[in-house]
């Protein structure tokens, strides 16, 4: 794996990024986690798709379950 491999962007794997996306629904990510996730999603084409799917899913779940999107802060 080279340092510029987009699927390792932010120093985390795609799998790690899905864990962080899930955890961000339960707690605020710390600064380092948030920065790594943002960098990863920005550079990894697969994770851009997955992140968009998760965002879409979460916003519809909020609607279906009558959640305000910013309820959980």
């Amino acid at each position: 794996m080279s340092a510029s491999d987009p699927t390792r962007a932010g120093g985390i794997s795609c799998r790690d990024s899905t864990r962080l996306v899930s955890e961000s629904r339960d707690r605020p990510l710390d600064g380092d986690e948030a920065a790594r996730l943002a960098t990863h999603v920005e550079h990894c084409p697969h994770c851009r798709i997955a992140a968009r799917q998760f965002a879409e899913l979460f916003s519809r779940i909020d609607l279906l379950l009558a959640r305000e999107p910013d309820d959980r802060d």
């Binding site: 697969h46 968009r52 609607l63 279906l64 379950l65």
Partner: protein, 189 residues
């Protein structure tokens, strides 16, 4: 449109099954679920004149139901345990085939990416509802304690006597499964 508009009570009744399922999943008992749904409908009928229609009727009802269920749970000394017959894996192995050995997405597991292009808003909500119903009951219950009843992560772990690590995996599984299910339904052709 020639169909007559349903009466308020009829409009509410269309959502009864969904509300009962949500309540029964959390309360573990059909009678208690009936009670909270009954209370929800009574409150909804009383509040209907003030219902603005800014959110879908179902979402409005679900919002009322949430408070009734949380009240019922907090009135109980003990929480209903998770069903011991259903396995609750504490690992993420079921998603091993989504990723390469070094953790990179397998593109085939992504199922395309264009929700808006293929499904109308209402259909998308129905798809998500359908996918939630496909989750194993314990997984759905844990997921909805967090996402619907809005219990804090630590309170769920405590009430269900799970470690935080185990709970984190259960919530991850629920969200990954929902993404799988929903993205298969909305994948681009």
């Amino acid at each position: 449109m020639t169909a007559l508009a349903p009466s308020p009570a009829e409009a509410l009744a269309q959502h009864r099954r969904f509300l009962l399922d949500l309540a029964a999943l959390q309360l573990g008992c059909r009678e208690d679920a009936d009670d909270v749904v009954q209370d929800t409908f009574a409150a909804a009928l009383a509040g209907l004149p003030g219902f603005s229609g800014a959110v879908p009727l179902r979402a409005w009802l679900v919002g009322i139901l949430r408070h009734k269920i949380v009240d019922a749970i907090r009135r109980r000394a003990r929480y209903v345990r998770l069903d011991a017959d259903e396995a609750l894996p504490a690992d993420e192995r079921e998603f091993d085939d989504h990723f390469s050995a070094d953790g990179c997405w397998q593109p085939s597991a992504l199922n395309g990416s264009c929700p808006e292009a293929t499904l109308a808003h209402r259909e998308l909500l129905e798809l998500i509802e359908l996918c939630m119903q496909k989750l194993p009951p314990n997984t759905a219950r844990v997921f909805l304690m967090r996402e619907f009843l809005d219990f804090e992560f630590s309170e769920i772990a405590e009430r269900l006597e799970l470690t935080e690590g185990h709970l984190r995996v259960l919530l991850y599984r629920a969200r990954m499964r929902l993404r799988d299910c929903v993205s298969r339904g909305w994948s681009c052709l």
